[in-house]
Every structure is written in structure tokens, then in C-alpha cells.
Subunit: 259 residues, 2 copies
């Protein structure tokens, strides 16, 4: 006899809740119910997964698993209004401790998908590492089973590790995108199409799939080419950009033991 | 009758000279000769393109086109020892003015491949934009023909534009790789395999192939999530990283008109 899958209620309807819930539904999980502070979003998500939306947390039905996937500053409010349960309660945040759930249930944990989600962009869960933390071995075992269905890339991380993974993601993704924005703004001023930078951006990301980033570094800083670095700094008007150029160049030189 | 291709001599044997010369040879150009300050490298490159190496610039034969592709700080020395010619002389540098060649020939220009090259990594010229500048319309026409053979992505850029493209490349490539290095160092300290960050890095680069980077921005800075930003800054020990986190977050907030 096949083992029964857990039934799930979802609290939240943001980017993570949206894609995770749809993926769980696609993996055959029954989505009992969706609650969100934004009732329209809750209904929209519920429709996607043949479920229903409720207007308050108190109206949530009994489920085996409650997934709380809200903005970091909204967890406190959700947790305060959540009834004590024996079901499993998990959150999906990279930067919140697992312990914030300890008063909801003895069975709690974290399911943290480490990827950048946008509602209007299809997510391929083949490329979404899912990180698990659990309050006890039984919950851990259930969450690992669930994670393995969601994605081929799963791992166990404690709170400290998960928070550092989130921080690393800010550098690797949010901040490198910030670099792309500056590049785009430099090109725009010279009437150069940003598209010309795409092959270089793609190659730079692609390289670290086979080389450690420390071994893939190129550019004026690693060559300590002071003439070019000074020329570049003079070319910019924005004082923050100048400061950023100096600071990253210094960090790159320290990484490479040039400084 | 098919038009004859220009014969080419190459000065330099670094990453750009290496891949560009091999590509020209593959496109059917005759490589007359290779000269480099490093004779072993010159011979190695000459061998790759069925050519010969010479030991001094004075020994270079007559060619239709001389490609000078050396480190930025070596151009002056090469140019000083180069005999005046009627042939076309080009350099390959993003950050040097075209005018540095004006005393060598009346026919000069720039062939700037905008990509990150490593000798031990195969380059797919389908993904190498080639930027052209020329001293007169005849040279421009010849260099455009050559560029179109090298790559499907070509463009005309003046010196000012090319230098800004190079600067944009430093941000988009060198500095985003610097972000990857920091991410890797954060993960290493927590015994987390850097591989877990690759799907996010790939997705972040992939996104700007279809969205403008300004519209692809995510993360705590754009949400002005001060709690998380302060938590992240407290998690780091390196003062330069703390400063970098604050500065990029400020720049991202200015880009998004949050500040």
C-alpha cells in the first residue's frame, strides 16, 4: 500500500508561497487551504491548486502540515494568532530561526528553497535547492521525504548555516544584480545597448560552475593595474560608484593576496 | 573571383591574442607571423595557427594587418619600436585610445572582443561581441568585414564608448565574480558546499537576459528590510565586507528610488 501524503495548509501567498504550493500540488500533495493577509492573492493561489481560501487563521482546517511563508516582518503576527497544534509547522525563511515556531507545536521545522522567485516567471524546481531543518528526527524524516519530491538538490542545514546561506545569496545574487544595474546605467549614458553585456554576464556566471570563483577572477584589480583603475574612477561622476569601485577592488586584491 | 583575405601578423600572445589569432586562423586568415616578449608563448601560439614566431619586432614580415594585443602597460614599448607602415595597425584594448596608434600608420583602428578569456578554456565566438573603431572609412569597412567573420555580434564604438563598455564590464563581470568569491568564503566557513549557490547564480544571470537588471532586483535592500540588513552586517567579521554590504545596499536603494 502506498503511504499517504501529508495534507497541507499554506499561510501566505507571496513569491515563495506561490511557487512552493504549486510545486507541492504538482507533486500530488493535497492542499487543504490557503490563508493570506491579502484575500485576493489567497483566492488566486487556492484556485491554482484546487483548494480554497479562508479569511482568518482561526478558520484553517486540520492539516498534517502548516507551511507559514510570509514576509520576515509578518512572522510574529502570524505566530501570535496561530493556535497550538500537534501537526507539523514549518516556515520558509532563510533568515529566521527555526525556534520562532517552538510555541506552535512540538513538531516544527524549516523548508527553505534557495532560489530567487518571481510570480510571473516559471520556476524549474530542478534548480531549486531545498534546505531542511527540523525539531526532532521524525519531523526531519518527513521533511526530507517532502524535499526530495520537490527537488533533486536537498540538504540539512541548521539555523546558523541557513542564515549564512541566505547572506551568501545576498552577495551572489542581489549584489551581483546591483552590479548589472550599474553596468546598464553606464552603457545607457553612452547609448550602448545593454544586450552587448549579456554574453560576458552569462560567461562570468557559467565559469564558476566549473572553476572556484577565486580562480575565475579577472580584471584590473587582480592585475593591480593602477593606471586603468584610476582612469575608471575618474570616468565616473557618482561618488558612491567611485567608492564602490575602490572598495571592491581592495577586497578582490585581499582575496587574491595581492594586498 | 573570391576576394583575398588580409594577411595578418600578431604582436602578443596573452589570452586575447591567443583566442583571437586562433579564431582568425579558423576563419581562413593567413597568420604571417607571431611576436611576443615571451618567445615560448609566441612559438606556442604560432604552432596553433601554422605560423612562425620571430624574436624582435624588426623581424616581422610585411603583412596587410598588424594586430597588437598586449597588456595595457606594454603598448607604449611596442609602439615605440614599431616601424612606420602603410598597413593597417589595430589594438585590442578596451581602455586604450585608438589614437595611440596614429604614428604607426595612417590606417589604424581597434578590434575589441568584449568577453573574458582564459587560455585553458575554449571560447565560443558566437558569444563574443566584437567592437570596431577605425581611423578612416576604408579601414572601417575592412575591419567590419573581419569582425563579421569572427562573430555574429559586432558594433562600431568610438573610444569614449569603448572605454565605458570596458568599465561596465568590470562591474558586470569582475565585480560580480568578486561577489561570488565572498559568497563562497561565507559558505566555506559554515562547511556548506559552494555548489548549492550555483542555481541561484545561474538564475540571476539568466534573468537579465529577458528583464532589465533594474526590474530583476530582489533582496533585503529593495524591500528596505532594515532588520535583516542589520542582522547580516552583524554576522560578518570583515570590516570591508560590512562596509561593502552597506554601500551596495545604499546604491541599490538609490537605483530603485527608495532613498
Amino acid at each position: 500500500m502506498a503511504s499517504l501524503k501529508m495534507s497541507i495548509s499554506v499561510i501566505g501567498s507571496g513569491n515563495v508561497a506561490w511557487h512552493l504550493t504549486k510545486r507541492l500540488f504538482a507533486c500530488g500533495y493535497l492542499i487543504d487551504c490557503v490563508f493570506s493577509r491579502n484575500p485576493d492573492n489567497a483566492r488566486a493561489l487556492a484556485e491554482q491548486v484546487k483548494s480554497k481560501a479562508v479569511d482568518t487563521i482561526a478558520m484553517l482546517p486540520l492539516s498534517d502540515l502548516y507551511i507559514i511563508s510570509v514576509k520576515d516582518d509578518a512572522y510574529q503576527e502570524v505566530i501570535a494568532s496561530f493556535p497550538k497544534t500537534t501537526a507539523i509547522c514549518v516556515h520558509t525563511s532563510g533568515s529566521s530561526e527555526m525556534k520562532i515556531l517552538e510555541n506552535l507545536s512540538d513538531n516544527y521545522g524549516v523548508v527553505y528553497p534557495f532560489q530567487s522567485f518571481s510570480k510571473n516567471k516559471i520556476v524549474d524546481f530542478e534548480n531549486v535547492p531545498v534546505c531542511i531543518e527540523a525539531s526532532n528526527p521524525q519531523v526531519e524524516s518527513l521533511l526530507i521525504t517532502l524535499a526530495n519530491e520537490l527537488s533533486p538538490i536537498t540538504c540539512l542545514l541548521n539555523t546558523e548555516q541557513r542564515m549564512h546561506l541566505h547572506l551568501a545569496g545576498v552577495f551572489a545574487s542581489n549584489f551581483s544584480n546591483g552590479m548589472y544595474v550599474i553596468a546598464q546605467q553606464i552603457l545607457q549614458k553612452e547609448n550602448i545597448d545593454f544586450k552587448i553585456a549579456l554574453p560576458l554576464i552569462n560567461e562570468t556566471a557559467e565559469k564558476v560552475n566549473s572553476l572556484f570563483p577565486i580562480d575565475a577572477q579577472t580584471g584590473p584589480a587582480i592585475r593591480n593595474d593602477i593606471n586603468i583603475m584610476n582612469k575608471h574612477i575618474r570616468m565616473m561622476e557618482d561618488e558612491d560608484w567611485k567608492e564602490l569601485y575602490r572598495l571592491i577592488s581592495k577586497i578582490i586584491q585581499k582575496q587574491q593576496h595581492i594586498l
